[in-house]
C-alpha cells in the first residue's frame, strides 16, 4: 500500500487495516517517518525524533499481532506527544533552553496507558515554552508553522501537536490545555482537539504550567478518533491527587449508539464584538445544521465572561511562578556558565534559560502572591473563579452543551500579536473560562475562510459528561469531516 494513502487515514481506519491484515504497524510507522522527512522542514512540528525506537515499537506491535496478543484498537497506531509529557528515556524540553539536556527517567501516566494499549510513541512535539503562549512562537527551538499557510501560526501552546495532525505527520497526538492550548491550535490547524474535564486525565508526568487548570487531551482528524484516544488515557490515577475517581465509559461505543438531539446554549457574551466575520458565518452555519438535526438552540448568559482573562492570568501565573521554581540550574536544569555563587546559579541560570514570556509570567505570578498583594490579586481571582463556575452551572440547568467559536479569528501571521502580550492573551478569550470552570471542551473543524484557513467550532460540556459532548460533536463531524481535508504542502 502506498504510504501517501496510509497517512491520510484516520486512526480508526488504520486500526481497521491492521485488524484485517491489509497493512502492518511497521509500514504505518515508516509512512509517517517519510512524511515527517518530507514536510517537517517546513512545518517544524517536531523537536526530537527517535526513529529507531519508533520503528522498534511498531515491529513489537506486529509481533504481538502475529501471536494473537494484540492489546486493543490503538495497538500499532502512532501517537506523538507534546514535549511536556514524560516518556522514559526520551528528552523533555518543554521547548525551553533550561531543560535542553534533561531526559525523563520515568513515564507519565498517559504514556504508560498508551504503551499498555500498544500505541507506538513517536517524536516530541513543539510548543510555546512551558505551554505559555497561543502561537508556538515562544518555543526556544523556533516556531511551528501552520500547514495551511506557512506564513501563519499554528496556534498554541500545543501548536506542534495540532500541526503534526494537520500535516499528516501523525494520526494522533496529545497536547495540554491550560487556557485553550489544545482547542485554539486545533481550530487554527483544522483538526479536532479536546480538553477533558479537570481530573479526567492524570497529570502525573506532565510538566506543570498551572496545576489547577492543566489537562492533557487528544488531537485527531475526527471526533471518533478523539474518543478512541481519550478513553485510552482517561481514568483515576492514584499518583495524581486531583484525578477524579470515576469510571471511564467506552466513548467509541457511545458514539456508535444513535444519540438523541439535545439542547445547545449560545452564550450571548461570546457572540459580541471581536469575532471575525468569516468565523461568524461558519458558526452560524453549524448552528443551522444542529437546528436541522432537531437540536434545540437556547440563548444563555455567562455574565462573568469578561472577567475570565484577568482571573486566568492571575491564577495561572501565580501557580506557574511556583511550579517553575524547580528549574533552577542546581540539578537537572542547565546551569549558567557565568554563575559564581549560589544566588547567581538561580538568577543567571533562570535569566538565561527562560524566554521572555516565561519570565514575564513568573514575575507576574510571584507579584500576585506576595505578602500585601495576595488578597487583592490571588484570593480575589479565586473568588471570581467560583462565580465563573457558577455561571456555567446556571447555564447547564437549561442546556446540555454550549456552542461557541473556538477562536475569534483564524490563524494569524507570525509577529502579528507577539509584540503585544495583551492581544495575544485575548486570542484565548473563548477557551479560558472552560478551564477556570474545570469543564470539558472540544474544538471541531467547521469550515474554511475564503483564503483557505480552517475555522473551529467549540462545544463545552458538563463536568464528566464527555460522552454526551463527543456525541454532539460527532453528529456534526461525521457529516462534515473537515478535519479529513489535508493541506497541500507542495515541495
Amino acid at each position: 500500500m502506498d504510504s501517501n494513502s496510509l497517512i491520510s487515514k484516520t486512526a480508526t481506519e488504520l486500526s481497521g487495516k491492521l485488524t484485517d491484515g491489509t497493512c502492518k504497524a511497521e509500514e504505518i510507522a515508516q509512512a509517517y517517518l517519510e512524511q515527517i522527512d518530507r514536510v517537517d522542514g517546513k512545518v517544524h512540528a517536531f523537536l526530537h525524533r527517535d526513529d529507531e525506537d519508533f520503528l522498534a515499537q511498531a515491529r513489537a506491535s506486529d509481533e504481538r499481532r502475529a501471536k494473537g496478543e494484540t492489546l486493543g484498537p490503538l495497538d500499532g497506531i502512532p501517537v506523538c506527544l507534546k514535549d511536556v509529557i514524560s516518556v522514559e528515556g526520551q528528552p523533555l524540553t518543554a521547548a525551553s533552553k533550561i531543560l535542553q539536556d534533561y531526559v525523563s527517567p520515568y513515564d507519565a501516566t498517559v504514556t504508560r496507558k498508551l504503551k499498555e494499549a500498544g500505541a507506538v510513541i513517536g517524536g516530541r512535539l513543539n510548543l510555546d515554552e512551558f505551554a505559555m503562549g497561543s502561537s508556538t512562537e515562544n518555543s526556544a527551538y523556533g516556531p511551528t508553522r501552520n500547514p495551511w499557510d506557512l506564513e501563519r501560526v499554528p496556534g498554541g501552546s500545543s501548536g506542534g501537536s495540532s500541526a503534526a495532525v494537520a500535516a499528516r505527520e501523525a494520526p494522533l497526538t496529545l497536547g495540554s490545555d491550560t487556557g485553550g492550548s489544545i482547542r485554539q491550535p486545533a481550530s487554527l490547524c483544522g483538526v479536532v482537539g479536546m480538553k477533558p474535564t479537570y481530573g479526567m486525565v492524570s497529570r502525573y508526568g506532565l510538566a506543570a504550567f498551572a496545576s489547577s487548570l492543566d489537562q492533557i487531551g487528544p488531537f485527531s482528524q475526527t471526533v471518533e478518533d478523539a474518543a478512541l484516544l481519550l478513553e485510552t488515557i482517561s481514568g483515576h490515577d492514584p499518583l495524581d491527587s486531583t484525578s477524579y475517581p470515576t469510571e471511564v465509559p467506552s466513548y467509541s461505543q457511545i458514539l456508535k449508539e444513535n444519540a438523541q438531539p439535545c439542547a445547545l446554549g449560545l452564550p450571548k457574551e461570546f457572540f459580541g464584538e471581536g469575532m471575525d466575520d468569516e468565523v461568524r458565518v461558519a458558526i452560524d452555519k453549524a448552528i443551522e445544521f444542529y437546528k436541522g438535526k432537531g437540536y434545540e438552540i437556547v440563548d444563555v448568559s455567562l455574565p462573568t465572561t469578561d472577567l475570565s482573562v484577568p482571573v486566568y492570568y492571575v491564577i495561572a501565573t501565580a501557580e506557574a511562578s511556583s511550579n517553575l521554581a524547580r528549574y533552577d540550574g542546581i540539578r537537572y536544569t542547565t546551569r549558567s556558565e557565568r554563575a559564581e555563587n549560589a544566588v547567581d546559579v538561580y538568577a543567571k541560570s533562570r535569566g538565561e534559560g527562560f524566554g521572555e514570556e516565561v519570565k514575564r509570567r513568573c514575575i507576574l505570578g510571584a507579584y500576585g502572591l506576595s505578602s500585601g498583594y495576595y488578597d487583592a490579586y490571588y484570593l480575589r481571582a479565586q473568588k471570581t473563579r467560583t462565580l465563573i463556575r457558577q455561571d456555567f452551572e446556571r447555564a447547564f440547568e437549561k442546556v446540555d452543551a454550549i456552542l461557541t467559536p473556538t477562536s475569534p479569528t483564524p490563524a494569524f501571521k507570525f509577529g502579528e500579536k507577539s509584540e503585544n502580550p495583551i492581544s495575544m492573551y485575548l486570542s484565548d478569550i473563548y477557551t479560558i473560562s472552560t478551564n477556570l470552570a474545570g469543564l470539558p471542551g472540544l474544538s471541531v473543524p467547521c469550515g474554511f475562510t475564503q483564503s483557505g484557513l480552517p475555522i473551529g467550532l467549540q462545544l463545552i460540556g458538563k463536568a464528566f459528561d464527555e460522552g454526551n459532548l463527543l456525541c454532539v460533536a460527532h453528529d456534526y463531524d461525521r457529516e462534515h469531516q473537515f478535519g479529513c481535508q489535508a493541506p497541500t504542502l507542495e515541495d
Binding site: 514524560s86 525523563s104 520515568y106 491527587s241 542546581i330 537537572y332 510571584a366
Partner: protein, 483 residues
Amino acid sequence: MGLEVHVQLDTKSKMFTRVGTGFGKPPNTLTDPVVLGLPGALPVMNKDAIEKSIKVGLLLGCKIAEVCKWDRKNYFYPDMPKNYQISQFDQPICEGGEVELELPGETPAVMGEHRTVMLTRIHLEEDVGKLTHYERDSLVDYNRAGSPLLEIVSEPDLFTPDEVFAYLTSLRNSLVSAGISPCDMEKGQLRCDANVSIRPVGTTTLGTKVELKNLNTISGVKQGVEYEIRRQTKALENGEEIFQETRRWNPEEKRTTSMRSKEMAHDYRYFPDPDLMPVKIAPEWIERVEKELPEKPFDKQRRYMADMDLPYTATSALCGDRPLCEYFEKTANLTKDPIKVANWVVNDLLRELSQAKRESDNDDGVSVEDCPVSPESLAELINLIEEGVVSNNVAKELFPEMFSTGKCARELVKEKGLEMKSDGDEIESLCAKAIEDDPAAAEKFKGGKEGAINALKGSVMKATRGQANPKVVDETLRRLLSN
C-alpha cells in the same frame, strides 16, 4: 521563651510519595521523581502521617482541624528540590493543646512541681534535604527530603531553662511512647528552635525575640537558652538594644552568634497547593484514633503510685518508656508484688539492657521488646524467691545469666543446684558450727546486741554459697542462741 519543635513521623513512606524513609542510607538513594521534584511529578498524601498527627493532637489535647489543607511555602534553597515546601499555613492540623511537664524536685527521689505549657499549633509539612558545605562546593542529600515532619509550636509560656528542658523531655516521652517517632535528636528525628525574649519583672509586654537555631541535643537547648538569657540581660543592663534576629548556638564555644537579621526575612508567598485536594478529617476517624490512644506517661505514673504504691523513683524511671512499662505490667500481673517487680525492672533489667547496649555493635542495642528475659521468665524468678525456692541473693546473681543465655530461671536453678536449702538438720548443724566458730558474736547477741546475729547468718550463708533459706537460718540461730 517559646519552642518550635520539629518531629519526624515514623512512617514507612514519605509524606507525598511511596519512597521509604530512613536514616543512614547511602546519599540520594531514598528518592524518586516526586522527592527530586522532576518535571511532572505530583504529590500524593500519606494517610498514616495524617493519622499520626491526629494522634499527637489528641495526646496533647489540641483541637483537630475538620479539613487537612496544604499550602506551598516558596523559597529558593537547594535543600528543597522544588524550591517550595509543602506545608500548612493558615489551617494547621491541630490548634491549641498543652504539654504537662515536671520540674526537677529537691532531690532526684522527690517528685517535682508539675505545670502545663500552652501550645499554639501543630502543623504537618515535608522535611527538606541535608546540605553539607565544603570549601568551594556544597553537597546535598535528599534522603531526608519529603519525610513527614510535624512542627509543634508552643506559646511563649516557658520561663526558665529548666522548664525548657522539662518541656522537651516530657514531649519526647509522650511522642516516643505513643509510637509517633523515636525522637532521636542525633538522627535529626527531633529538632528544636527556641525563641527567647526577656522583660523586666512585673511587666507584661514581651521583649524583642531572638530565634536560636542549631540546638542539637536537649541539654544543648538548655545551655543555648541559658546563654541567650544571660546575653540579653547583659545587653539590656548595658543600655544596648536587642535586635530581632536569628542566632546560631555554637556548642563548642558555648555561645550564640548572629545568622541573619529580620530585614533578611523571606516573603514565602504562601498559597494553597493546587496539586493536593483538601482532605476531610471525619469525626469517626478522630474517634477511632482516640480509642487507640495510649496512656500518657504522667497519667501512668500517677496510676502506678496510687494503685500499686510504687515509689516515685521507680515510676520516674519507668514511665518515660512505654515498652518498659508494658514489660513491667506484664510481669507484675504474673506476680503478687508490683513493687518488687518494679525494683527488678528498674535496677536489674535496665542495668543489663544498658550493658548490652554498650557492648553491641549497632547503637540500638537490645530493646525491651526483644529482651532475652521475658516478662514470664522474670515473674517466674520473682515467684521462686516468694516460694522460698531460691534466695534473693541467688536470684540477683541468676538474672544476668538469664539475660545472657536466655534460659529460664527454673531451668538454671535446677542445672546449678541452686535451690535454697531449707533442710532443718543440715542448717542446724551449720548454725551450731557458726556459733562455735564465733563465740564472741554469740555472746554479744545474747547480751542484747541484735545486730550481732548477722555475722552468724553470714557465715551460714557463706558455707551454703547463699543457698540456705534465710528465714530458716534466722529461726534456727535464734532457737540455738536462746538455749
